[in-house]
């Protein structure tokens, strides 16, 4: 098991200003699989990723990543085991593509030779402009791809991608998924958040999230079948209605 989250509670603020984000959240991610986390904006996906990264401390519950509890010295996350692509572009606008990859490569203790090799491959694979171009002058889609390149740079065991395919053209999106599939088969665990429902259906396992709770988790086929649905969209809608009814009761 790559990630085991149980009974996670996390909110922001105190007293009257308190906002509950994750309420008794649980999820399990197998090693070497692609996990698609599906949910609308504001449902707590990003908060959950930040808890896995050790950036936010859980208020209650347990978070185990790559075999160790987050926050303990044995845990390799945060560190070189994880590649993270935040929802924001999260790049320094005044650096060039080469500067950016060099910076993150050095942070990961990569050798100059390794960084150069990966840079060449990533530029080719993600169809990026030449390495000397400044980030500030790239289009939104190009920036998104550089952001993904940074996460892939050091070939981590765990990839956390927060909406990596927004604004990326369908052909390239197809190639990205193909690559994610390849590295997953080679043992990398990928968690990808998205609000494109058809994209999530390509994952090995889908988690449907709403208002800080995981409504359902399982293989796309498994989730659809019991309700006789032909798309995840229907399943999601069905689950939302069911929880709404429960809340009213």
């Amino acid at each position: 098991m790559a990630i085991k989250v149980g009974g996670l509670i996390r909110g922001y603020g105190r007293g009257k200003k308190r906002i509950e984000v994750l309420q008794d959240y649980s999820m399990r991610v197998e090693r070497g699989t692609i996990y698609g986390l599906l949910g609308p904006s504001g449902c707590g996906k990003t908060t959950m990723l930040k808890v896995i990264l050790g950036r936010l401390r859980p208020e209650a519950g347990s978070v185990e990543v790559l075999g160790a509890e987050v926050g303990t010295p044995e845990c390799t996350v945060p560190g070189s085991a994880v590649g993270y692509s935040p929802q924001e572009i999260a790049l320094y606008e005044d650096l060039t593509i080469a500067d950016t990859l060099l910076f993150h490569g050095r942070l990961q203790q990569m050798l100059p030779q390794q960084i150069a090799e990966r840079q060449e491959w990533l530029i080719e694979f993600l169809d990026l402009p030449e390495a000397g171009r400044q980030i500030g002058n790239l289009s939104g889609g190009q920036k998104r791809r550089v952001s993904l390149a940074v996460a892939l740079l050091h070939q981590p065991k765990l990839l956390l991608l927060d909406e990596p395919t927004v604004g990326v053209d369908p052909e390239l999106r197809y190639r990205i998924w193909q690559h994610l599939r390849e590295i997953a088969d080679a043992g990398t665990t990928v968690i990808i958040t998205t609000h494109y429902i058809d994209e999530a259906s390509k994952a090995d396992c889908v988690g449907m999230m709403r208002d800080g709770i995981l409504l359902a988790e399982g293989q796309p086929q498994e989730l659809m079948m019991p309700h006789g649905h032909t798309s995840l969209e229907e399943t999601f809608l069905h689950l939302c209605r069911r929880t709404n009814v429960k809340e009213v009761e």
């Binding site: 922001y12 572009i89 050095r106 942070l107």
Partner: protein, 356 residues
């Protein structure tokens, strides 16, 4: 502490600073302009003060007095006034700063427009010096004699007191401004999350930034000291390297305050506002414009809590008195800055770590 990561962050920050040509030019040139303006505008003695001299028939010292007073360019002498009344009217109409009246008994009486202390004291010093010289020439020992001072010149310029303080102020202010925005954007645009995801420690982020800013600090500190010493003839009787090192330490203290502010501020606008209390405290209560000894007792502990108070005091001791580490004032300033910067760095690291 991983030095590789610190180096990566320092190199990244330095590239960013270098790419922004306009800001880079600004932060290199501004301290120089500021110290130049201070040196030119503040603390020099006033010149060309219009003063009447009214002589008396009964004594003969007025020719000597006119000659001595006329020799300096501080005063412009007028002998067309014949009575004290005329001169006082001219003063009240704003045509004269003072009237120097030689009385029949050979004494001297000064009538002043005493609305400006600096002007009045300049006139008084001129008159005192002229009288002392006249008396000495006549072989009379003046009743009050200022012996050779232990430290400083016989006629200390206000700028000599002010300059060490201004160097302190400039080094502090520019380091604070330089760092106060460091993380305001990065905390919200995800770049810092990414750096932390790589396993970077908050202290590594802070020290990396400090390293990059230090390259600018070296330039700023050197310019400011060189302009003060060579441009304005501020005495530097002690070890120049000590002045430089202390200025660097103060710059680091200020950077740690600036970085702390930038871990707290929610916007760049707010960061600038949060700077203000520090700037005002430093300007007003750390003995830069006015001696700390003149502060009320309750304000003194606050004053000595600021690294600038220690630094300004030590700069004065090194530059004017020529003191070194054997003096507690000087050694204390070094120690206090190191301790202050260290504690502030830890506080900032803790604040950068908790994201709520």
């Amino acid at each position: 502490m991983n030095l590789g990561r610190v180096r990566a962050i320092a190199a990244r920050k330095f590239t960013s600073l270098k790419r922004d040509h306009r800001t880079f030019a600004f932060i290199v040139i501004m301290p120089a302009i500021q110290i130049l303006l201070f040196g030119i505008a503040i603390g020099q003695s006033p010149v060309g003060l219009e003063v009447a001299v009214i002589s008396s028939e009964a004594t003969d010292i007025d020719d000597d007095l006119m000659a001595k007073l006329g020799a300096s360019d501080a005063l412009v002498l007028h002998d067309e006034y014949t009575s004290v009344g005329d001169a006082r009217t001219a003063i009240s109409e704003g045509n004269l700063w003072a009237a120097i009246v030689v009385t029949d008994s050979g004494g001297i009486e000064i009538h002043l427009d005493n609305s400006n202390q600096q002007v009045s004291s300049t006139i008084l010093v001129e008159v005192r010096n002229a009288l002392t010289e006249i008396l000495e020439e006549k072989g009379v020992t003046p009743p009050l004699e200022v012996a050779d001072p232990v430290y400083g010149d016989k006629d200390p310029a206000f700028i000599n007191f002010l300059a060490p303080g201004i160097i302190t102020l400039v080094c502090f202010m520019f380091s604070l401004i330089l760092t106060t925005m460091s993380f305001v954007g990065e905390r919200y645009d995800g770049t810092l999350d990414r750096v932390f995801a790589a396993g970077t420690q908050p202290s590594e982020v802070l020290i990396g930034h400090m390293t990059a800013f230090t390259s600018i600090l070296i330039g700023q500190v050197s310019t400011v000291i060189l302009i003060a010493v060579y441009g304005f003839d501020i005495p530097l009787n002690g070890n120049p390297l000590m002045v430089f090192m202390l200025a660097m330490l103060l710059g680091w203290s200020a950077m740690c305050i600036g970085m702390f502010i930038s871990t707290k501020a929610t916007s760049e606008f707010q960061a600038i506002q949060l700077n203000m209390p520090f700037m005002f405290l430093v300007l007003l209560v750390s003995g830069i414009l006015w001696p700390v000894e003149a502060l009320p007792a309750w304000l003194q502990p606050i004053s000595w809590g600021l690294p600038t108070t220690w630094t300004a005091e030590a700069f004065r001791s090194i530059m004017i008195r020529g003191w070194g580490f054997e003096q507690t004032v000087v050694a204390g300033a070094f120690v206090y800055n190191i301790v202050f910067a260290g504690i502030m760095l830890m506080v900032a690291a803790k604040s950068l770590k908790t994201q709520d």
